[in-house]
Subunit: 339 residues, 4 copies
């Protein structure tokens, strides 16, 4: 039983079926095919507005490309200290922005505090540091499994607007956050002030499908050229369009996210009942960070449970669209017995 | 009937079946899965030596990543004038090498002449131009549908070695060239002096699967970091491994390339018999460049044949693994009638 | 007698005296000193308008910095084929723009033809080449010693405006062109449509003093940050300001340029009278390109005349503010005798 | 009286005299002149070994160029948190290395602790962070006015060698550190393990003269091309050579550094006797960081003393080759009276 990440999962059958169905025949490459056109239209429906889309296979590419639209080499990008784009993307945003400075702000439960952000920006001296604050990136759901409320996002956005910054959202787990809040995609993105969104589907049931959604048309110029320049543009582009079409059809993406989130809650609740664990952050989405005794961890590993250790007895457990409730129950049971 | 490019085609059923079969269950991300391991081993078997592999979705990413291993910002990269990496990749190699100069050498039939290359390199003044010749990139099969013979490659390689340059091969259509020559992959790559190979599968029946193969271990350091930095690394990496495994199994890749090449030959032969066309280059692989009268072209287009015009009555026709012989015959028939 | 380049000369005594006089005392660094303030004001007077200035030591830095204000990584920069910025600046503009494509247009006598430019831009396919035409760079005086007339510049500018491009002027020899035309600096720059000017003083009597002048305030944002980021910003900035103040005072810069141009004309006229030479381009500024018999060249070199050979018996002779008329006469005399 | 920085000073008369003397006549550009040759030879004498040199006008250029020789885009550069290259160079090292990660290590008194460095490197996970530790940069004298002992440098070097890293020294105030230690330049650089040195002269009496000294010939390839590419290479290169020749002649550089250091010591001693101040770091070189009561600071400023405030009553005072002992005494006197 593998709880290492949501990207250990395969493709949801309905997306796979769509790939099979869409495989027949010849279509034009580089996005000139009907599947891609439909996916673009679908994004506009789902987000209730016009927007520009770039589709690709990776979340790292998506974040870096998105940031390259709003940050230049003399820009400063702000994110939570330790955010994925700062620490786990191999410097991709440095490459795509050609040297924007990435500045971490200590967060609480994985979320940037609007007051902290405001203080950092108010005290920032562009003349001294020779870079200009350009954009704040929030991760929704956060890397620690927590979710910004709409009010929280609105406050961040207000700080951004006050200081003249753009707002980017790393939505690698956008769906998991969305179903937690129970709101509309538009509310959690452009209506909350997001200018550019990295919209992820890979972790939540697709094969390899990420999109940059640009809500401000002025930012979208050069989107296609930048996509190509990064080596991110599919030639058989239909296979990106097909994934998104199936993903967004009939609420599949929301159903998958709800299932994943439910598993996380089940685990957290189960361990809480057992009483020997310490939960590190609220469980809003599909990740649980919990501290367990070393002998419990060793016993769980010996039984074949897979997860990432974070030091000090803390482990991260991530749940996917395909995680079985029985596996979660089994983990809880084993953890209780081992305690 | 779409002859615009080989990337208008879908996925070969055996590769698609492999994707379906490999979809079940959870595996570790980022290449730590058994499918990827098997593909890496398979590449070593097919190329009969140890090598390093990076897999990704796009040929542009593959070329740019490959060149970043052998060229620095103060390097000069040589290719045929108008080569894909120079003109159709959106400056990706500039981005990945951070500014290497790309210098085109006029070719004959899409191929660099060793004598021309030698002259260019002998007359190159690094002190004056402030960049150092670092690598020659050859496209095999070339962008004009021709193929370097092994002897030709050996002569290019000799010039490279003489001047201290590395050799890169853009093998977006590696298979089409290979079956034309009827030789082994090793012969057409590292034994012919190639240090780094961009190995393409997408055009020839895969969904989105390209690999950088590094034959000199000294060049492979940082390969993984550079893959991630470019946003090219799949999280659900198995789906790249699966494609390559099926592609390379039981000679499928060679069969598909043979079929595509055969269609090109059939077309060229058929038009030659008709007598009203002018073939621009030898038809070695799966592309045909031919000049036809304008009324013939207009008639063909009116009947629904799709192809790219190149000016002056020249069109490019590309054939894929799935092009039907009947479609080729139909094109010839229509062209003859229209003439 | 060294006719290799105008940068073989030293500093004009009046500029040197100013450096000596301005050396006393302590002043704030990084441009906060009175000399720099005065130079900035002086540039505004000389160019009869508000503008932003960045000062530095090198022309390569100046061109690259200027272009980085108007070109992004997905931009195309157009210049004459073989222009200094394309061939002799070590890829600096690639570095500072992070990968803009530099596209050469064949010129006549070193000058871009407006009709050629218009045709290139009209036929440019941004979607295909995945870069957007952003700026045309003209070199005034050109690398071949010729000068754009005001009408010629206006025609180039009209083409730029028609296609939505910015206009940059590489004015490494701005003064030499200016005195040839006998017009005002404003006429030959922003009134002629130039948005950003690389204004050179080094070749014309300064020690190391070049400036980027930005006429459109919207382009100047980040100028200072980019100057620092390139490592171009002097800490003891006064020494740049001092040079420009003395250079621009009392018409010194124009006097020096007139002297240099006069030497070039004397040489061209002298050789024309002798009759054995072939002049390659009109002599508008301070450079002469002339073809002489090999035995003449050998004889001149044997007598200690220094110049650069360009192949085929063509040599380049460049004259500085300090070239002595007697040296020019001596060259003519020797060339005639050797013929 | 201006204690803001050592770069508020002008040029030492002997260096200025050399510039005047060397101004006559024509010499070849771009470093092919006798002054530059002599300076290169002089560096070899002073450092008692063969080495490669690149000369330029700025310390930021010097650091960035030096680091570009030892760090690639997938490298990690380590320095003290808050080191000049990390915080005050506008991202120049990001630009020149094209995206190397710059990682700060908390220091003590401005110096990196070898044990801390070893721990950071031992725990560094290149596979996780996708960048490889490549170089440690030490600032000698440090930004806080302290100096690494030879033993301390040796320990840093040993850690570097143990982990396979190169060692860079930011020697913007190399001379101030050298006279404090009373050792030879070789001992404080390559014999202590330094591979690449940014050697500063500007702050210590030159006009604008900084050099990258490369002790390992394998690292020097492309030095000249990178210098040009950055826009750092002087055309009238003699004026860099002349500055260094005069700077290094007859111990002038050491005399100037001794004078500046002496002023710092006088100030620290004077304030210590007065008793109302708190010295923050040992005064090894020519900088003093001291905390004074707000009314004292206000009084000093009102009397025209200039210095930078650092918050919490802390000020930085920097002394140059030309600081008058009387000015230091005056500051002490005023500070005592104001207390």
């Amino acid at each position: 039983m593998n709880f290492c990440s949501d990207n250990v999962s395969g493709i949801h059958p309905r997306i796979l079926d769509a790939l099979i169905a869409g495989n027949d025949g010849n279509v034009l490459p580089y996005g000139e095919d009907p599947h891609t056109r439909r996916a673009e239209a679908r994004f506009r429906e789902v987000f209730e507005r016009d927007l520009a889309v770039a589709m690709m296979a990776t979340g790292t590419g998506s974040n870096a490309l998105a940031l390259s639209l709003v940050a230049s080499p003399i820009s400063a990008i702000f994110c939570r200290s330790g955010a994925h784009l700062q620490e786990h993307e191999g410097g991709a945003s440095l490459m795509y922005t050609n040297g924007a400075r990435i500045i971490g702000i200590d967060g609480r439960n994985g979320l940037i505090d609007p007051g902290d952000l405001d203080r950092v920006l108010a005290n920032f001296d562009p003349a001294h540091l020779l870079c200009k604050p350009a954009v704040v990136s929030v991760t929704q759901a956060s890397e620690l499994g927590t979710v910004y409320s709409l009010q929280h996002l609105g406050e961040i956005s207000a700080v951004c607007r006050h200081h003249g910054l753009r707002m980017h959202m790393d939505g690698a787990r956008f769906a998991n956050a969305l179903v937690h809040l129970g709101c509309q995609p538009a509310e959690m993105s452009w209506r909350a002030g997001v200018d550019v969104l990295s919209f992820g589907a890979t972790k939540n049931g697709a094969m390899a499908a990420e999109a940059v959604l640009v809500f401000d048309p002025a930012l979208a110029e050069g989107l296609r050229a930048r996509l190509k320049r990064g080596g991110l543009m599919f030639s058989k582009h239909r296979f990106l369009g097909i994934q998104f079409n199936a993903y967004l059809a009939d609420g599949l993406w929301l159903d998958m996210a709800r299932a994943a989130n439910a598993r996380a809650t089940e685990l957290a609740d189960g361990l809480a009942r057992a009483g020997t664990s310490e939960l590190l952050y609220p469980v809003d989405a599909n990740e649980v960070f919990v501290r367990l005794p070393e002998n419990t961890l060793a016993s769980l590993e010996a039984q074949g449970f897979q997860f990432y250790r974070r030091g000090g007895g803390v482990i991260r457990l991530v749940f996917g669209w395909n995680t079985k409730p029985a596996d979660v129950a089994s983990f809880i049971d084993s953890a209780c017995k081992a305690a």
